[in-house]
Amino acid sequence: MAWYNTVGKDADTVISSRVRLARNINGYPFASKLDASGANELIEKISAPLEQAGFRKINFADISPIMATSYVERHYVSPEFATKESPRALLLQEQGGIAVMVCEEDHLRIQSILPGLSLEEAYKNASRVERRLDEEFDFAYSEQFGYLTHCPTNLGTGMRASVMMFLPALTRGGYMDSLASQLSKIGLTVRGLFGEGSGAAGCMYQISNQVTLGITEEETLKKLNDAIAQISESERKARKSITGETLEQLTDTILRAEGTLRYAYRMSSGEFIRLFADVRFGIALGIVKDISYEQLGTLLVEAMPATLTLSSENTPKSEAARDKLRAQKIQNTLNPHRE
């Protein structure tokens, strides 16, 4: 089962956790300086032990742009990886959400994505694959700078750990800017997801470590975990502080969102994200009772444009047709017994 079909720890505030390790192999220039034959050679070499270990190889030169985008929507590859033109491959093991991008910016981007707050487990998964490849390959490394990466911002551990948080009460309260500036002081960054600029529409934020050099993997994970625990507490407090007329109004907004999500005939992805956030907030507050985090989590991937289009036998020909398909997909997921 894919990571987005299940629910994890602290689901009220955390959607997913991800750890990725950047590695390069000595004897080859970094990906942007690597010619096609070098890249293909590297892909062959790296794929062999991973395919043996049960990974599925997806050669990105051979798949359609829409299929490539669908892998972005499932958080297995970066948007840059999906759209670049040079040879590249994804090695995927859906169990454990383990995805290895070969020839992205670095030769190897080994990542594990899991539902809920699960950084240690994600690190363990990524690290296990990394150790397996370490036996086989001579990773570029210097004692001073650690693992050598294409971009100096990834030097050291080459590890980026990130947690996708759902923070509707802090967003409504206008606390996100000050949270971002506090986090930056301890070397963490916040990025809004699914929205223009601040990402306020979906109330979803990715919190990750900025620094990778001079700090161990364990220290990084602890720092991030501690911060996530604090942010979750603040969010929960902010939720509890909504009372009286404000809560009445919010309840009305949430139930209207649930109604629209369940019964709309057409829905754009922008509207979906807004309603998603309201309804998810409603589940956390106990206002929405018959929709689960799992159902919504699944939709957060399956109602996205590329994945949605691929799920239909008849490719929608227009935006309106796609919006209709999205509304159907949502209905089928939320109202499984409705004809």
């Binding site: 000595n26 700078f145 650690g146 990466t149 294409h150 971009c151 100096p152 960054t189 990025r191 050099l213």
Partner: protein, 180 residues
Amino acid sequence: MLCEKCKKRTATVFYNENINGKTRSYSLCGECAAKLREKGELQDITSMIGSFADPFSQLHDQFFSGFFGMPTVKSIPSAKKCPVCGSTYADIAENGKVGCPTCYSTFGDELAGLIQSVHGTTSHTGSVPSRHRAMKEKKEKLTQLKQELQEAVQKEQFERAAELRDEIKSLEAPAEQEGN
């Protein structure tokens, strides 16, 4: 990181200077950089790139790669090329990305300022590839033995010192043959 002059404000100006092959990097806050410029101690300030308001305000990798750019090497542009991939420092500065692993040793001095400014340090403390683990352990052992040797000499324990010296020699010899 803090400004190296006032040690109070956050450094927002990063600057490498290369004169007759000697590199020096500065990490300054805007105010100290302006003062130094007035005094004429920081010349040709227009050749600096790394001036930005808040190092974490843009919150993403892309910020540092490309847009932020690298500290420029002032005066005497070096014609040095990476022996493996042929990159020059100008190439690296232009797109914010390094050409190959060897670039880090070729341009270590030039890159140190940038690395310091991004990470607040230039030395790694995390995990180590298996191939380097033995070497790392050996280095740690050597450091420890050398310290013991010094102590033995100070305490005039010359027999012990002689033993330690032999042990150090035997550890160092194969390391040199391996050529690091």
